[in-house]
Symmetry: C2
Subunit: 323 residues, 2 copies
């Protein structure tokens, strides 16, 4: 692999990539324990440079579809990407782990998580986050999820969690539905890249001193990567045996429509992948296995579905809830 970068970034790039590769192993191993099934693996090359390793489990005991992707891609930027990506010069390097888990049971939330390191010229940054999309909101679970993330953030810097929580609320939002995607979590981008990198961002939170030290940021990203699935595993374990029927399945399939809308219209990772000639099947692994769109579908007032949606739309500070 040859990319023209300064030695310090090149070193971070190598270490980040090695960490992400190992992280995928750990996460997949944990998810196999949770589900009982096995992930299949596809190792692939990207024609323009780099490649990845996609791991997918379909029709498991817990997961209807679970995808955990590692990739390390690099090469020339197409003109339209060169315009919108921070940094300078014609080439980029991107590595990370990305996962989306779609459980069969509507009682178990869908979850997304991602950690990544992107580099262009002398500009390099970490991004990522994780957010929870319940079909039926259980406040106790939303609070546990947020508190676990707050715990990881607080070990590094007190300002991170409130900032990344709000960033998540803004990012995982469907303007055309006027709805958040789920109960949120954390989201961050451009950490370590400097304020100018966020120029294309609609309303990024102000950068802090903390993130100027990319080693500190990497320490946080490692910690997050290794810990981010724990709260989800506990939630899935608590809820997987809860009963559900056709009504709950229907609601899940309709809400999954929102998930597909978000990923295909707005999601930065999805569009980045598709616009940098990424491997389509690995990028769109995040799409739900089955989805319904019904014209004018809306939950009955006062129903569990309506209450769940209202709870999602509240975007409350779950970590502060009495729980």
């Amino acid at each position: 692999m040859t990319t023209a970068t300064d030695p310090k970034s090149a070193d971070l790039e190598t270490r980040a990539s090695a960490f992400f590769r190992e992280l995928q192993e750990k996460i997949v191993s944990g998810l196999q324990d949770l589900d009982g099934g096995r992930f299949r693996e596809d190792v692939w090359d990207r024609p323009g440079g780099g490649g990845g390793r996609s791991r997918v489990l379909a029709d498991g005991a817990l997961f209807e579809k679970a995808g955990v992707n590692f990739s390390e891609v690099f090469g020339s930027l197409q003109p339209h990407m060169a315009q919108s990506l921070p940094g300078e010069g014609p080439t980029f390097h991107a590595t990370g782990v990305s996962l989306v888990l779609h459980p069969r049971s509507p009682r178990v939330p869908t979850v997304h998580a991602n950690v990544r390191f992107i580099q262009r010229g002398k500009t390099a940054w970490f991004g990522g986050g994780t957010d929870l999309t319940p079909y039926y909101v259980v406040p106790e679970d939303a609070t546990a999820f947020h508190r676990a993330l707050k715990g990881i953030c607080d070990r590094h810097e007190q300002s991170l969690f409130p900032r990344f929580k709000r960033w998540c609320d803004r990012y995982f939002f469907l303007p055309h539905r006027n709805e958040p995607r789920g109960v949120g979590g954390i989201f961050f981008d451009y950490l370590g890249a400097g304020a100018e990198a966020t120029a294309g961002e609609p309303s990024p939170p102000p950068a802090t001193k903390w993130e100027e030290d990319s080693e500190r940021v990497f320490g946080f990203v490692r910690d997050l990567g290794l810990g981010m699935m724990d709260a989800y595993a506990a939630i899935a374990t608590r809820r997987r045996a809860d009963p559900w029927g056709d009504n709950e399945r229907e609601w899940q399939l309709l809400r999954r429509g929102r998930y597909a809308e978000f990923n295909l219209i707005y999601d930065r990772g999805t569009l980045f992948g598709l616009k940098t000639d990424g491997r389509t099947e690995s990028i769109l692994m995040s799409l739900p296995p089955e989805v319904r769109w019904r014209y004018g579908a809306a939950p009955l007032p006062g129903s569990p579905e309506a209450l769940s949606l209202a709870s999602i739309c509240s975007q409350r500070d779950w970590a502060d809830d009495p729980g």
Copy 2:
């Protein structure tokens, strides 16, 4: 309704809108005869100006979901739309009929059709087209569909059909899948607006003298609107009783995933609607009622599904087929 335009355009706008309103009636009436079921109707206002009438039939004998939308919307352009829409000035006016029909049987193709008139300042243009998306390609049907469109085009100007056919092949294409959406049809935009209007278009066909006369273009659009459903109705009638089972349904649901991808990632009408604060349920009425995404799904070599896909990818000149 008050928009500041010159009298000639204002007149065309009024007549186009009246025609589209009536066209929706005629199409819905024809589709009700075909299906046997009834469309429900929602009349809606757009907060920024204008409104529409959405008609939807769900779970019919032939159609799993059929939506026929009329709209006439106007008002101020958001900054991002002001940049990308041809014409000049801060306001726009758009009216048209748009439909997508998703039959239950995988033996009956999905079809999309649209005719529209858009105006911004002194620039006004017609756009539209119709394209056929079979799950199992029947060459005879694809040929009949293309010949019917060629017949309508040829009555107006010999150059239209070959030009609009190629435009359709380019437009209804998923670069990330390297697949056309279906067997095509015709697509056109900016007719009557002059060459400068197509500046944002990746590779528009060269404009012709014919389209400088907006009355002639309107004549063609009227003819197309009134005739464009005939070939489809004949195809649906021929194929609706053909047998199918789980295997064919699975293929249909996977191919519908491509339809959803196209509409959410690329479709100009969908994105125009969402970005001009259109009525979301009416815009996304085009999405299939049920969809599946399976990681790495591909038809078995030599299977009817593989042959259909190959036939779609050939983008051949169906109208010239011995048929």
